[in-house]
């Protein structure tokens, strides 16, 4: 990276507080594909000059997969440990790179003593665009390119965020096409509810194949995602359909970073 990503510990040592904490998440930290998205989110934050920080090695799993799998103990252990860290740093506002972290911190942490203003990175991008701080210039042109957006369940149906990601794409002057099942009727990529970490049950098709077939029907050049798990499922699907040369699966943060030449 061309710049240093600041951690909370460093800021605290300097007696400073960030405007916003970037919660990276496990996928964003460890998964190679998702790491690229994480770095792009940092590039955007750096580019617009927001004072931000990450927790670095002090971050731990939000407990989301444990809670969806039914292990409330483990979830609450994780949650309370994280809340202690977040409250210790006096965090007020959080942006997450993952809809699962977003949902968990926003909705399930307040009851355990962790109340913050939580937004997803697509909402941050939309805010920056509407404030005029972020444009789509100085980088790759997406003008006229066909993009279809896949709604992550925990962003869309889970929390009613349908417009922000679409607004973030509209600024590109691209050709946005909707899949048949979109927004509140969107089809899951197959990874939610801790499915990401297990083999699917017996059936006649994998869910990500069902979804990718629908996405490909729109004949897109880019499939836009907003979740690292959807990213894995959709990328796998495109590869299995042997379309990974023509069709790119990109996170909205990556598209935004590219459009701005970051």
């Amino acid at each position: 990276m061309e710049f240093k990503v600041p951690t909370m510990a460093e800021l605290m040592a300097m007696g400073e507080e960030p405007e916003i904490l970037f919660w990276v998440g496990c996928a964003g930290s460890y998964d190679e594909r998702a790491q690229k998205i994480t770095r792009d989110i940092c590039k955007i934050l750096h580019h617009v000059g927001i004072k931000y920080a990450v927790l670095g090695t002090e971050e731990s799993c939000t407990g989301d997969p444990a809670k969806r799998a039914g292990n409330e103990f483990l979830f609450q252990m994780q949650a309370m440990t994280n809340i202690e860290v977040l409250n210790g740093y006096n965090i007020k506002k959080i942006v997450t790179g993952c809809p699962h972290c977003f949902n968990t911190i926003k909705n399930e942490y307040p009851g355990l003593g962790g109340t913050y203003e939580v937004i997803h990175h697509t909402q941050l991008i939309q805010d920056l665009i509407s404030e005029g701080k972020l444009k789509a210039e100085g980088g790759e042109s997406f003008k006229g390119r066909k993009i279809t957006y896949h709604d992550p369940c925990y962003l869309g149906r889970g929390n009613g965020v349908y417009e922000a990601p679409r607004k973030a794409l509209e600024v590109l002057d691209a050709q946005l096409v909707e899949m048949k099942r979109c927004k509140s009727n969107g089809l899951c990529c197959g990874a939610g509810g801790a499915q990401m970490f297990k083999e699917p049950e017996k059936g006649n098709k994998d869910i990500n194949i069902e979804r990718i077939e629908e996405a490909l029907e729109t004949q897109p050049q880019i499939i836009a995602a907003g979740c690292p798990f959807c990213m894995t499922m959709l990328s796998d699907g495109v590869k299995l359909k042997d379309k990974d040369q023509e069709v790119k699966v990109l996170d909205i943060a990556e598209i935004t970073a590219r459009a701005n030449g970051l």
């Binding site: 039914g70 899951c188 059936g203 994998d206 069902e210």
Partner: protein
């Protein structure tokens, strides 16, 4: 006089039997765990008005929406006529509201048009189920009883509407003959076309009119008493079910206060937890579920919108959200019968998990909330699936091996994969 007495007894018996069975259903629902859903009454009331009265979530599928709207309006409006039938039945009068004149004619005329609409809509519904065999109405859980149940309801509605129209046809013919107490009242835009089917003699017409009148009212009482056994219970339960529905974001799962106490005590030895009655974690049987989950089960109309959008079901997995609801109701009915026969503490050795819902089903769920979004009356199958998972994981420690591995990783590494926490920030070094 005798007919008035019979009518009165029939009415009392019909209402008494219904309240006896309805009370049992309410008792069954109350065997569930408490869950407070009394906050934000104004928002709850608005939700009920919008979703149950206004049927806004039905509009997603325009064809069944319009057909259902006709039957719904027909049901609600034609039942105004029942008020007149009740008064006539008890006091031995005939068309007591005839004095309303033009307005009465308007009412009867509207009822007739609606009755025709209901008749046709039900016929289309029967065709969709039995001839077109729409995929939504099939599935492993749609065995012979649920299929017959739907057909019984539709056929009964057709018969009731037929009786209503034939009654009016005979009545208007008798009015024309100037027969006895058949006062000239009402407008008959539909039944006028049925007059030709009826006999011409007054005595036969009176017989037809009376038989239809009795069939209509007895049919209504029979229908009322059929509800507790049928998926058609939604006509009543849709209202409380939407009123008490989940107002929080769909992505948010319930918190478990009992767990919070234990976790707090673990993290801070000086913490003294408030006294909370020990209980199971999660649900093995219906009584471990909340009363909301159980009311959801009685409310389900088995329309299958949930299953038709479930990603697991679409891709051939065993999971069907509709089956989760039907299993919950079937098991709860069984538990209720056990209470009737053997008393409240009887254990039959069966449970919702394993005897009704299998592990394969609960682990196929992606928790995507497509089912809860699709339900026209805000039923939440996901909440039940989560409770069953909680029992399997926290009480039994039985989960797919890969899930256990993931949980182990979260516990030891703070991530669902086997990576070292020390490497968590390495992403910033590269790229």
């Amino acid at each position: 006089m005798a007919s008035q007495l019979i009518f009165l007894l029939l009415t009392l018996a019909g209402v008494a039997l219904f309240s006896f069975n309805a009370r049992k259903v309410i008792r069954n629902i109350k065997t569930g765990k408490p869950e407070n859903r009394t906050d934000q009454p104004a928002k709850r009331f608005a939700t009920m008005l919008k979703v149950a009265f206004g049927q806004t979530k039905m509009a997603v599928r325009p064809v069944p929406f319009l057909l259902h709207l006709v039957v719904y309006l027909g049901f609600v409006i034609i039942n105004l006529e029942v008020l007149e039938i009740m008064i006539d039945g008890i006091f031995g009068t005939h068309r007591i509201f005839a004095g309303l004149g033009g307005f009465y004619n308007f009412l009867i005329g509207s009822f007739e048009l609606l009755a025709l609409g209901v008749w046709l809509a039900c016929a289309v519904f029967l065709i969709r189920r039995n001839i077109l065999k729409l995929k939504r109405f099939s599935g492993v859980e749609m065995k012979s009883w649920p299929r017959s149940d739907a057909n019984y309801i539709l056929i009964t509605e057709i018969l009731l509407m037929t009786a209503f129209l034939l009654m009016n046809a005979a009545d208007s013919k008798l009015q024309a003959l100037g027969e006895g107490h058949y006062v000239s009242a009402g407008a008959f835009p539909v039944s006028a076309y049925l007059q030709g089917l009826l006999p011409t003699f007054a005595s036969s017409l009176i017989l037809v009119e009376r038989v239809c009148w009795w069939f209509h009212i007895v049919g209504i009482f029979a229908f009322l008493n059929y509800l507790p056994y049928s998926k058609h219970f939604h006509i009543l339960f849709a209202f409380p079910n939407t009123y008490f529905s989940n107002l929080k974001p769909k992505g948010e799962f319930t918190d478990m206060a009992s767990v919070t106490n234990e976790v707090k005590a673990m993290l801070d030895p000086s913490f003294v937890p408030a006294e909370i009655a020990p209980g199971k974690f999660g649900a093995k049987d219906v009584n471990d579920l909340s009363w909301i989950n159980l009311m959801n089960a009685y409310t389900c109309t088995e329309c299958g919108r949930c299953t038709s959008v479930c990603p697991a079901n679409i891709t051939g997995k065993l999971l069907s959200p509709r089956k989760i609801m039907m299993d919950t109701r079937d098991r709860l009915e069984e538990v209720g019968k056990n209470i009737d026969k053997h008393g409240a503490d009887y254990q039959d050795g069966k449970s919702l998990l394993d005897d009704y819902v299998t592990r394969e089903e609960i682990w196929a769920c992606t928790s995507c909330n497509a089912c809860t979004e699709a339900c026209p009356i805000n039923i939440d199958p996901l909440a039940i699936i989560v409770e069953l998972r909680r029992f399997a994981v926290m009480e039994e420690s039985i989960a797919p091996a890969s899930i256990n591995a993931m949980l182990g990783n979260v516990e030891n590494n703070g991530a669902p994969w086997k990576y070292s926490p020390a490497d968590r920030f390495n992403w910033a070094e590269e790229g």
